[in-house]
């Protein structure tokens, strides 16, 4: 993340758990703390077409551990009086901390491949992921970042609001223009609800960046 955690005591030693020679992904300016995205999530089902407006904000990113987090705000949700805000945590597929295989949240390998293959930017990688899980892939130079986002709790409404955060999103981020697409996966919800977001510039003619530094 665009922060430095300043250690005032003895210098850190490298964790002994890092297998092989994988390194963390390089930082991407548009996937940083403070960056905001806006778009829609298609929540259509067989009965009706529906889309919610969605705003996402990244609050923190830790490339060393393949972690990021932020908030997601859903507007015009029919069963809610106000926009619904959730806090989510993400796993970055970097081949070091996380792979393309989820291994939890009731997602099988078949579910994983079914979802990743819906991103055009995944197709050059598909063969290798299917054969050896993508162990040989050099994701450091790939201009797309793949993630899983899992909502953890509701920020401004109760759990009885009629909404669910049981599933998670398969996400693809484009490093060049900061656009995000995703698919929501929850065995008990309509499949392949698509999330599409673009960067937000708050009325500016260009990009603006805020930052913080954790001590």
């Amino acid at each position: 993340m665009p922060v430095r955690v300043v250690e005032s005591n003895t210098p850190a030693q490298v964790s002994g758990t890092d297998p092989g020679n994988r390194s963390q992904l390089p930082p991407s300016s548009l996937l940083g703390a403070g960056q905001a995205f806006s778009g829609t999530q298609n929540v259509s089902n067989q009965q009706k077409e529906e889309a919610w407006r969605v705003n996402v904000q990244i609050q923190g990113i830790d490339l060393e551990h393949g972690y990021l987090c932020g908030t997601m705000e859903a507007l015009n949700v029919p069963m809610a009086d106000t926009p619904v805000i959730t806090f989510w945590e993400g796993e970055i597929v970097d081949g070091k901390n996380y792979t393309f295989y989820t291994g939890k949240w009731e997602a099988t390998r078949e579910d994983d491949m079914r979802h990743w293959s819906k991103f055009p930017s995944f197709s050059p990688l598909q063969g290798q992921v299917e054969s050896d899980g993508g162990r040989q892939l050099d994701l450091n130079n790939y201009p797309y970042i793949f993630m899983r986002w899992k909502e953890q709790y509701f920020v401004n409404v109760g759990t009885d609001c009629g909404l669910t955060i049981a599933g998670f999103y398969y996400v693809c981020f484009s490093c060049s223009d900061g656009s995000i697409s995703g698919f929501y996966y929850d065995p008990n919800s309509s499949p392949f609800q698509k999330l599409e977001l673009k960067t937000v510039n708050e009325g500016r003619s260009g990009f603006s960046f805020s930052s913080y530094e954790l001590q």
Binding site: S29, G34, S205, F207
Partner: protein, 670 residues
């Protein structure tokens, strides 16, 4: 003979008050201490000794009455004949008792000038006299006030080894104590190792309990931060000596277990490669955790020892976490309200280290309700405890998840922290600023307890402190407070700081202060477009200062923040973009444009920030983009970017592609 640096003080005996039976008896004792009759003197010495043993109040009381000089005189007056032996033994024992764990007592003994006399007792033919002298001297050498010992003098080394070689375990233990407390430099460590002290100390580990403990302390002192000494030690007898110390971590005596653990901590911190075996690391952590429950000094030292061991080491922190360290420490803190200061400090520092890198630990914090314990500790009377609690809070609040959930943004947490900004201790101030820096990051929740308690004004004051660390920390806290802040919050800061004052911060003599000031400015001009106007106050003083600082060829970290200020301003209106161009191309300049230098920096973040400024300046939606592009091209900046299409950093490469794409739309060839 070793020399002492203390000078003999004049006798300061005073008479006791005439009132009360106690005072009468004490006055009586003094007159009997000065008696010429050895039996009377001896009885008086025994009386004093028996009263003060283990009794700090009595020690203080007798000290104030001048007992130490009186006893020192008794010792000095006694000759080495056999009939004076009892007097020598009792006076040495009494002096030793005064010095035992009582700094004022040590001071008084040294001031009385009796140290050389005590040393001479070590060569007395009577074993009991030697014992008493050795024990007394050991008490003195437990203290930081003990005289310096010059290990580099050959005579002193000979004397030291004569002690270590003595059959008398109190004497050899004294030799070890001298090393433990007086060896300070790597030169001294080397000289001791070359003289064979490591082998000697390990052999002495097989002796009595007190000798073993002194030897473990000495080993740690000789090995500390000295990789050569550690290598020598581990190499001795094919690692058998290291095994001996490791075995002692399972000894039945807690203090032995503790001191052997501390020895291993020293070895690990100096040369971790000797600890490849996970079992040893786990065993060490488990033993230290068990020792935390020891009610005595071993428990105090175990807490600090644990924090030293896991400091900065994620793998050990993980082992400790898996061994339930957090719960163990929290249970101790919750159940015992009368913990010693040193132990409290050690426990909070251990918790701080556990939370320094591991998110699981930080989340445990919250679930185990540790916050309340920390808040109480912020009100402790001891500065070290308060500082340790602040450091703990700082590390726990590195959790973006918990910050986002508002776990620290409550009056209950914030008020004592804000109050500590006025603490007289500078170590507490530094520590609380560190904690607040993180905790004020509330991701723009509507309510900020910190602001409600007047925190902004305090930070503004601290940003003008004489201490550069305080200025830097205060600005960092302000920066974090202004992260994604709305105009209302920004106004609370801007209204109290004028452009002149802010320009001074950007031009601070200390680069880290400049960096934080620019980072704060970056956040102030982000967000709503109207907030950019701040840099134009007082005829654009702040923007001019930013430009001036960037032209001076600053360090990369400062330049990154400066370029992001320009990036953010350049994302504004046409006027804003033109103002940035004026900073990049001021009228009177003959030197190379600083952007060209930044684009060639080794720091990818600086290259990236510079390219973003360019992206914003030639953003196609703005009317003056074409003219600005022409200027950037003729200044060599666009051609420089063409040379960087294969930049090693993916992000820089992508941004350059964006610029060149925009360039093509202006009719430029790729």
């Amino acid at each position: 003979m070793p020399t002492t640096t203390t000078s003999a003080a004049s006798s300061s005996s005073s008479t006791a008050s005439a009132s009360g039976n106690n005072s009468n008896r004490q006055a009586d004792v003094f007159s009997r201490l000065a008696s010429s009759d050895p039996e009377v003197k001896l009885k008086a010495l025994r009386e004093v000794k028996n009263q003060i043993i283990g009794n700090r109040t009595k020690k203080l009381s007798f000290l104030k009455l001048g007992a130490v000089p009186a006893i020192a005189s008794a010792l000095a007056d006694a000759d080495d004949s056999e009939k004076c032996n009892n007097i020598l033994v009792q006076s040495a024992a009494a002096l030793g008792s005064f010095a035992c764990g009582f700094e004022a007592g040590v001071q008084a003994v040294l001031d009385a000038g009796v140290f050389p006399r005590l040393l001479r007792l070590l060569t007395n033919p009577d074993e009991k006299v030697v014992d008493a002298g050795a024990r007394s001297l050991r008490m003195i050498f437990q203290s930081n006030q003990a005289p310096k010992y010059d290990f580099l003098q050959e005579k002193n080394m000979e004397f030291l080894f004569s002690l270590l070689n003595s059959e008398n375990e109190n004497v050899s233990g004294l030799g070890a104590s001298i090393i433990a407390h007086a060896c300070g430099t790597s030169v001294e460590q080397r000289v001791l190792c070359e003289a064979g002290v490591l082998e000697k100390l390990v052999i002495l580990l097989d002796g009595s309990l007190s000798q073993r403990e002194a030897c473990l302390e000495s080993l740690a002192t000789v090995l500390k931060n000295n990789p050569e000494a550690v290598s020598d030690f581990v190499g001795l007898e094919s690692g058998r000596y290291l095994n001996s110390v490791t075995e002692l971590t399972k000894d039945r005596y807690p203090r032995t277990r503790l001191l052997s653990c501390l020895c291993l901590v020293v070895i690990y911190n100096t040369s971790p490669s000797y600890f490849v075996n996970m079992g040893t690391k786990s065993g060490l952590i488990t033993t230290l955790l068990e020792l935390l429950n020891d009610p005595g000094q071993s428990g105090d030292d175990a807490a600090l020892g644990l924090s030293c061991l896991i400091a900065g080491k994620e793998d050990l922190q993980k082992l400790a976490y898996e061994a339930n360290a957090i719960k163990n420490i929290v249970d101790i803190l919750k159940t015992d309200s009368e913990l010693q200061t040193k132990r409290l400090q050690g426990l909070f520092l251990s918790l701080a280290e556990l939370c320094s890198k591991l998110e699981d630990c930080r989340c445990s914090f919250v679930s185990l309700q540790v916050l309340d314990l920390l808040i109480n500790a912020l009100r402790h009377k001891d500065a070290d405890v308060k500082a340790a609690a602040c450091i703990c809070l700082r590390n726990a609040s590195r959790s973006v998840k918990n910050l986002s959930a508002g776990r620290f943004n409550s009056d209950h947490v914030m008020l004592p922290l804000v109050q500590l900004l006025h603490d007289p201790s500078s170590s507490v101030q530094v520590a609380v600023l560190g904690a607040l820096s993180n905790i004020v990051l509330d991701f723009s929740s509507p309510k900020s307890s910190f602001i409600e308690f007047g925190g902004i004004k305090q930070l503004i004051e601290l940003s003008k402190s004489m201490d550069p660390n305080a200025r830097c920390s205060a600005l960092r806290a302000l920066r974090n407070l202004m992260f994604l802040a709305d105009n209302k919050r920004k106004e609370l800061y801007i209204s109290d700081v004028n452009a002149q004052g802010f320009a001074c911060l950007i031009s601070d003599p200390e680069p880290p202060v400049q960096e934080q000031a620019l980072a704060l400015l970056r956040n102030l001009v982000d967000g709503c477009i109207s907030s950019i106007e701040f840099v134009f106050d007082e005829d654009g003083l702040i923007l001019d200062t930013v430009g001036r600082q960037l032209r001076k060829g600053p360090q990369a970290h400062m330049a990154i923040q400066g370029m992001y200020v320009l990036t953010n301003v350049a994302s504004g209106t046409e006027l804003h973009k033109e103002a940035v161009m004026q900073q990049l191309f001021p009228q009177a300049t003959g030197s190379e444009n600083f952007m060209l230098k930044f684009l060639q920096s080794d720091e990818s973040q600086l290259r990236s920030a510079t390219v973003w400024t360019i992206i914003n300046l030639i953003s196609p939606s703005s009317p003056g983009a074409y003219d600005r592009h022409v200027k950037l091209r003729s200044a060599g900046i666009i051609p420089q970017l063409k040379n960087m299409v294969n930049d090693a950093c993916l992000d820089v490469k992508i941004r350059i592609k964006t610029v060149l794409g925009q360039s093509m739309s202006f009719g430029d060839n790729y």
